[in-house]
């Protein structure tokens, strides 16, 4: 099945810097993402990957081109596309469970129902014991779990993650990868959510992605399929096919000379 979920055509975005110079964050990006795919956007910082994600989310309007999600043109942010931000976005003025319920309450879901859903997702991310806590009482990793639970609870079938685990330590990061993959994989094959995950971490992309799209200077420069089976064990990442992909990615990032 090749049901196109997200389609960007000739997408561009430029903005004016404080000194008046015109900066092109994205130029003529064409990208089709199929339903249920787990796509990682990889590239050096400043390559436009976050901008692309924000355009898909509807937080930033494109300067040119079109972005279509679920067959509808994106004009504003909405609950059909859940977003996990790089910074902590958990509202500090709401208790943890209220944060997870927030999206549902915006859509008018009855209290009992949304409490049930929130409790369910808090359980899946392993935070049932702090449902009644204030966010300030949680660690950085726990806050990320709350953010992930919030977008999953809200039921969006497109998930956008903007370097969500960049600031976490290695162990916490790996735990969150598991949490994310488990939640993503739980829908039976055809009903999986579509994920677009921005990262600059090559290993993270190789653990998570079905497909890695490489951006540089606002353009798509490569598009790699990652066919390895899941779960991707340490050994699996050392298979020749995976090592080859890693070399390609490192070359794109300028860390290895082209061979």
């Amino acid at each position: 099945m090749s049901d196109v979920k997200i389609e960007a055509s000739a997408l561009s975005r430029s903005y004016r810097r404080a000194d008046g110079a015109e900066v092109k964050a994205l130029s003529a990006v064409d990208l089709r993402i199929e339903a249920g795919q787990f796509v990682c956007l990889v590239g050096p910082s400043g390559c436009g990957k976050t901008t692309l994600l924000q355009i898909i989310a509807g937080l930033v309007p494109p300067s040119g081109g079109n972005i279509v999600v679920n067959g509808q043109r994106v004009t504003a942010p909405g609950p059909s596309r859940g977003m996990v931000f790089q910074k902590d976005s958990v509202f500090p003025w709401m208790r943890v469970h209220a944060n997870v319920e927030y999206g549902l309450s915006c859509r008018g879901v009855a209290k009992a129902e949304r409490q049930k859903v929130a409790a369910q997702y808090l359980e899946r991310v392993g935070l049932s014991h702090v449902a009644g806590a204030w966010p300030r009482e949680l660690s950085g990793g726990m806050l990320k779990r709350v953010a992930v639970a919030t977008v999953f609870a809200n039921g969006a079938d497109v998930l956008l993650l903007d370097e969500p685990f960049g600031a976490l330590d290695y162990v916490t990061k790996r735990q969150l990868h598991d949490v994310l993959l488990t939640l993503w994989a739980e829908g039976e094959a055809g009903r999986r959510r579509t994920v677009v995950f921005v990262t600059h971490d090559v290993d993270e992309a190789m653990i998570l992605a079905d497909r890695i799209v490489v951006l540089r200077a606002g353009r798509v420069v490569d598009d790699l399929a990652v066919a390895a089976d899941r779960p991707r064990t340490t050994d699996a990442l050392l298979l020749p096919g995976m090592v080859r992909i890693k070399h390609i990615l490192l070359t794109h990032l300028g860390l290895e000379a082209a061979r």
């Binding site: 404080a18 937080l59 504003a76 942010p77």
Partner: protein, 290 residues
């Protein structure tokens, strides 16, 4: 100062708002024609303010510079009026800035002194809080009784008001200097004096900017307050004198002058301090305009 391109598009709404305020005032002056005293409209329109009122300010010119005063029997003239405005403004501004400099210097010095080690802070903190809550303007009569109505009385009052603000501002700012800067300087072997000169003083400058803006506002209020209760010159004196005779139009004119001076002093300070504090992050307003 030549407006940069785009200046209009950024500021047209503010200018429109100011013009609208002026317009509303003029319309009010037509609709609401009640008088505070015979011949003194409650809402003086602009044609009165910049005509009759301006001319009447010649009353406040004491004579000299070849322009005779009204008291000497000369007819009121625009020259005398302008001279009256300049000389009275000058008096007020001199009082303000003398007090401002004295108060800011004394307040900063004291604030740094008590921050030198923890115990004077603890001692000074609560009386300071108390002095700060004592309403400054209500103390005008006290200062008058103590220092008289001469120049020194007004300057002392302004200096006191500003000194307290600076003292509190500096003491607070020193407390807010991140410990990591201090520790870092210590690991380089900085002595206490060096530490103050190279770390603490620069680090509190941005907060001092906010303190200075607050002090400017307080200072303008204080100098007018001091003049209000006993002075023979200055903008505050002009207001008192006008109020006694319910010369609302003259009060209005002085108020306009005041807004002008205050805005200019804020803008100037803002410009200078921005240049001095270029290293601090610009608070770029990244507001989500959704």
């Amino acid at each position: 100062m030549t407006p940069r391109p785009g200046w209009w598009s950024r500021n047209w709404a503010s200018l429109a708002a100011i013009a609208a305020m002026a317009g509303v005032w003029e319309i009010l002056s037509f609709i609401y024609t009640a008088e505070a005293a015979p011949g003194e409209p409650m809402v003086p329109g602009w044609e009165i303010v910049f005509g009759r009122t301006l001319l009447s300010l010649a009353d406040y010119w004491g004579g000299g510079l070849g322009v005779a005063s009204v008291a000497e029997g000369a007819p009121p003239s625009y020259t005398a009026a302008v001279l009256a405005i300049i000389s009275n403004s000058f008096d007020t501004i001199v009082r303000l800035y003398t007090g401002l400099i004295a108060g800011a210097a004394a307040g900063t010095a004291l604030g740094l002194a008590v921050s030198w080690s923890p115990w004077p802070r603890r001692v000074v903190d609560s009386p300071l809080q108390f002095l700060r809550t004592l309403p400054l303007l209500a103390m005008v009569p006290l200062f008058q009784l103590w220092f008289g109505t001469e120049f020194i009385g007004k300057v002392a009052f302004v200096a006191y008001g500003i000194g307290v603000i600076f003292f509190a501002g500096v003491a607070n700012a020193v407390r807010n200097v991140p410990q990591i800067f201090i520790d870092n300087a210590r690991t380089f072997g900085a002595s206490r004096a060096t530490l103050y000169r190279t770390v603490i003083f620069p680090a509190i400058l941005p907060e001092l900017r906010a303190t200075m803006l607050l002090a400017l506002g307080t200072g303008w209020g204080a100098v007018l307050g001091a003049e209000y209760l006993g002075a023979q010159s200055g903008l505050g004196y002009m207001i008192v004198y006008s109020e006694q005779f319910a010369y609302l139009d003259r009060m209005f004119f002085v108020a306009l002058l005041f807004v002008l001076y205050a805005s200019v002093s804020y803008a100037l300070f803002d410009r200078v301090s921005r240049r001095l504090l270029d290293w601090t992050a610009k608070s770029g307003q990244v507001s989500a305009t959704l």
